[in-house]
Structures are given as structure tokens and as C-alpha cells.
């Protein structure tokens, strides 16, 4: 990427300069190296790797995926190889193809687990940020349970804050009554940033079998359809907190990135769109300068929260 483009697209995310604000979202980009077979993933700002837990997890039974209007449901259930394998196998494979700091997405089922996995990944040189996922809608007794109540969100963020040195970004759920309250609690607990929105809890029923389409009954709704909900929540949260907001939810094109940043996002994650178009993030980054020209935007930095 040329210096001029870097100057136009670059942003600072919780103390780390990134070439552009585009970040493939956790769960849609694996541990990165498979996309590196398709294009040079160093064009990305960074990416958030697959949500990692202490132990290896198979996740939920299949079917885990269902089509929806302008989107999809998933109930993968945090399938991952466990933190040991991530450190010893996935990160070394990633190192061969990605020379930027990566965002480590951490999930868990207990306070201890969040603390242990976060501190383990915090020590890895390749990790730039910890993205603490307290919002997975597809596992029971964990994930979202921590992120839907301000008190428990604050407890887990404080505990993790005490053990990690790197910037801590907390990813939370839209499946709450008052997202601003949670955001404020997370900020007060010491988070360096927040990322939102995780998927919206949804469900579909198979008309032939007259039973839920997903083996897990419910799943998380993502894709273009949720974009307006995400813009609204990013707008509300970024007005209420001082720390950077990473906006995500239904982002599909360069115009969506600009809209999300005007709403208050410092950086933007792209999720489901990667699954329809494996080149989505590369294409969005390539399209940004021209779309910025069209709307008389010189640098992306200057438009963050521009709609406030």
C-alpha cells in the first residue's frame, strides 16, 4: 500500500497504528493462513482470529447454518482447537503469512477461563490486542451470560484487565435492554476499547420437518440485514464512552465502512460478508479511496463520529 493511501486510510486503534480500519471479524476468517492462499492478507488493518477457549471445543451439532433474508444464522458454538494449540500450531502458521499484530479473540465459560486464556495470549508477541468476547449467543452458561448484565461484564473485564498488558477490547452483545449501560460498565472496568455488535439472537423453522432448522434451535443473525441495528448501537455507545469503538454488524462494502465510522467507529470489522465473498475485505480496502473521493473525505481519521 502506498504512503499516500496509508495516510488517508490509517487509524490508531487503542495505541497501535493500523494501515486501514478493516478487520475481518472473529469466526469468519479462521486463523488467517487459509485466506492467505487467496490473497496477501497483509493488506488488512489486522484481523480477529477464531474465538479461543482453554480447552479444544467441537462446538454444536450440525446443522449450524441457516439462510435468512439478507443474512444468515450461525450456531457454531465456539469450535476451536484450544489455547495450547493456538499458541503452538496456529500462531506459528500465521506468522509465515502475516507480519502485523493480530487481534486475539478470547471466549470462556468461567472467570478463571477468561483470565487464563487472555493472559496466555497476551504474552504472545504476534498478539496486538485482546478482544474479549463476552457475547457469544450460541453456548450455554458462558459467553453472552457475562455480557448481558453490567455487573458481571464489569467483573470479568476487571479480572482480565489485571492480567493483560496489551490493549483490551471488549466485544459485547446486542441482545440486551440497554447497551449503553454495559458499555459504560466495561469502560469503568478498564477496557481500552469496545467492539460491537455480536450477532442478534434468532431462529428459523424448517417447514417440511416442522422443527427448528438449527440443531441448537437458536443462532446468531448476521449479514447485511443487521447493519442498521449495528450503526444505531455504535452511534449510541460511541457517544457515551471515551474509549474507541470497533463497529461491526452487516458491513458489506466501502460505503458501509464510512457510515460505521461516521456513527463513531474507529475501526470496522467485517464478518458474514467474508463467507459470501472470500475477497470481501481486500475489495473493500481497494474501493475505499475512490468512495472517499466521492464523498469529499480526505482521511478516514477525520470522519470518526462525524455524525454526532
Amino acid at each position: 500500500m502506498g504512503e499516500v493511501t496509508k495516510a488517508r486510510l490509517g487509524v490508531n486503534l487503542c495505541g497501535i497504528d493500523i494501515d486501514n480500519p478493516i478487520i475481518p471479524a472473529s469466526g469468519t476468517f479462521g486463523y488467517g493462513y487459509e485466506f492467505a492462499e487467496l490473497y496477501d492478507i497483509n493488506v488488512l488493518g489486522t484481523f480477529s482470529f477464531k474465538g479461543t477457549t482453554r480447552e479444544a471445543r467441537f462446538g454444536n451439532p450440525t446443522p449450524r447454518i441457516a439462510e435468512c433474508p439478507s443474512g444468515m444464522l450461525n450456531a457454531v458454538g465456539l469450535q476451536n482447537p484450544g489455547v495450547d494449540a493456538v499458541v503452538t500450531k496456529e500462531l506459528p502458521r500465521l506468522k509465515a503469512v502475516f507480519d502485523k499484530p493480530v487481534m486475539a479473540n478470547v471466549s470462556g465459560f468461567s472467570l478463571d477461563e477468561y483470565v487464563e486464556v487472555s493472559s496466555r495470549l497476551d504474552r504472545e508477541e504476534q498478539v496486538g490486542w485482546i478482544e474479549l468476547n463476552i457475547s457469544c449467543p450460541n453456548v450455554h452458561g458462558g459467553g453472552m451470560a457475562f455480557g448481558t448484565c453490567a455487573g458481571s461484564a464489569e467483573t470479568v473485564v476487571k479480572a482480565v484487565r489485571d492480567v493483560v498488558k496489551k490493549p483490551l477490547i471488549v466485544k459485547f452483545s446486542p441482545n440486551v435492554t440497554d447497551i449503553v449501560e454495559i458499555a459504560k460498565a466495561v469502560e469503568a472496568a478498564g477496557a481500552d476499547g469496545v467492539s460491537l455488535i455480536n450477532t442478534l439472537l434468532g431462529m428459523r423453522i424448517d417447514l417440511r420437518k416442522k422443527k427448528p432448522l438449527l440443531a441448537n434451535t437458536t443462532g446468531g443473525y448476521s449479514g447485511a440485514a443487521v447493519f442498521p441495528v449495528a450503526v444505531r448501537m455504535v452511534y449510541q455507545v460511541s457517544k457515551a464512552v471515551k474509549i474507541p469503538v470497533v463497529g461491526m454488524g452487516g458491513v458489506s462494502c466501502a460505503e458501509d465502512v464510512i457510515e460505521m465510522m461516521l456513527a463513531g467507529a474507529t475501526a470496522v470489522e467485517v464478518g458474514a460478508e467474508n463467507l459470501r465473498n472470500p475477497f470481501a475485505c481486500r475489495d473493500i480496502i481497494a474501493a475505499l479511496p475512490e468512495v472517499m473521493d466521492k464523498y469529499n473525505i480526505n482521511t478516514l481519521k477525520e470522519i470518526i463520529g462525524g455524525a454526532h
Partner: protein, 246 residues
């Protein structure tokens, strides 16, 4: 894997609910029989995975069943229309393990990918026997095409209205002394063939997919050698690694 645009050459009905679409485009990434493509359709969010029936230099043939909104939309497309397709997905069948007399067993929409497999095996000088299972006579397709390749073909139907009455496993006698088993079809059929087959083999599985290229973990399954993704590490699994769960 490659993303490219294909142009529909024709799109014809083979039975009351089975269609055959021939497309022109770059098939360079299709390297094995048993692989699939993933098609983006107007108005559908996720791509539709369809097995490759045949791939030649610039021609891709897909045979698909109209089962939902996506395939219904495909069935209405005509010559000249364009489709955004990811090609070269999945591992496909390995013909090296077949021995001299491979047995190929397909059921319903599991039949189409066996055509390219039979063609390749026959091209390698092997003596190919095919058992094709359908519900009823009106569902039968591609018997003549397999015979034209030079395969010995046996058809079974559940109601006995064509070929041998019953399931594909009722036709094992027809296969004689086979060296290897290739199978594609619904999971109950795969399991029945797995139990009835006396040889090693390769079985192609189906699962609802998100991306089709290994990113989303939507179609994972357990095997004796760890978790695999049907779309990327499959859809073809070796008999020796299969774990039956459901």
C-alpha cells in the same frame, strides 16, 4: 479455489425435479471428481453448494435437485445468464486407491458426481460397476450416460418401478467381485453401504454450509483423525476415518 463468472449455456430438466445446467467458464481449479462449486444467486445471501457432474476445458456441468428457493431460482435461468461461482472446492475422490474393479454407488443427487469419477476411472483402464438408487422410475436419470462411458450399470428403485426393487444395498450381487467402494448419497444410504461393503472406500458427505471454503466451521464433523470440515477437508472421507454420530 477460484472465483469467476460463468455463462449459462443451457439448463434442462432431466426428471420432474432434477435439472442439468451446462456453463461456460474457467474450470481450471477443478482438479478431482467429487469436488463442488459454490454459486451466488441473486436475492440469496449464502452461496449454494452443488457437486460437479463434469468439468472439461471450458465447460462445467452441474446436475441439481430443486429443493428450495435457491435451486428453484437456478432452475429458471436460461442461456446467456451469468453466475458468480467459486470453483475447485473440497477434496474430491482419489482414484489411485480403486484397484482394478471399483464399485460406484450413488443415490438421488448423489449420482451426478460419480459420473466424472467413472469417466476418470475408465480413462485409467479400470473396470467400473455403478449402482444407482432412486425412489421410483420417474426419478431415474443418467443410466444411459454411465453406460455410454463403458460402465456396467444397475438401477434400483424403492418401489420396484424400474430396475431392482429396494435399496442400493439389494444390488450388491450385481457388483460381483469388486476391489473398492465409492459412494455418494444421503447419510442413511452412506451408512447402509458402509456396513454392506466388503472393501475399503471413499464416502462423500453432505452438510449445510456457510462459506464452502473452510472459514466458518459451519459444516464440521468428527472423524477418527480429529474434527474435519465437510467443505474443505471433505466432502469425501475415507471409510477408515468415518465416525457415525446421528
Amino acid at each position: 479455489m477460484k472465483q469467476s463468472f460463468f455463462t449459462v449455456k443451457d439448463n434442462i430438466a432431466l426428471t420432474h425435479d432434477i435439472m442439468k445446467m451446462t456453463l461456460l467458464g474457467d474450470t481450471g481449479d477443478i482438479t478431482s471428481p467429487g469436488q463442488f462449486v459454490n454459486i451466488l444467486l441473486d436475492g440469496m445471501y449464502l452461496r449454494r453448494p452443488i457437486s460437479v457432474n463434469d468439468a472439461e476445458e471450458d465447460t462445467l456441468t452441474l446436475i441439481y435437485k430443486i429443493v428450495g428457493k435457491g435451486t428453484e431460482k437456478m432452475s429458471k435461468m436460461g442461456a446467456g445468464e451469468e453466475l458468480d461461482i467459486l470453483t475447485g472446492l473440497g477434496n474430491g475422490y482419489d482414484t489411485k486407491k480403486s484397484g482394478g474393479r471399483p464399485l460406484l454407488i450413488g443415490g438421488g443427487v448423489g449420482v451426478p458426481p460419480l459420473y466424472m469419477l467413472a469417466k476418470q476411472l475408465i480413462g485409467e483402464g479400470k473396470d467400473v460397476t455403478v449402482i444407482l438408487g432412486f425412489r421410483s422410475a420417474r426419478d431415474v436419470f443418467y443410466k444411459d450416460e454411465f453406460e455410454a462411458l463403458g460402465a456396467k450399470v444397475c438401477v434400483t428403485t424403492e418401489d420396484g418401478s424400474a430396475g431392482i426393487k429396494g435399496f442400493v444395498t439389494n444390488a450388491f450381487d450385481f457388483a460381483g467381485d469388486y476391489t473398492y467402494t465409492y459412494c455418494c448419497g444421503p447419510e442413511p444410504m452412506l451408512r447402509a453401504v458402509y456396513n454392506a461393503s466388503k472393501t475399503s472406500g471413499q464416502y462423500s458427505f453432505e452438510e449445510r454450509m456457510g462459506c464452502g471454503f473452510g472459514a466458518c466451521m459451519g459444516c464440521s464433523c468428527k472423524t477418527l483423525y480429529g474434527n474435519k470440515r465437510i467443505c474443505k477437508d471433505g466432502p469425501v472421507l475415507e471409510k477408515e476415518e468415518i465416525v457415525w454420530e446421528k
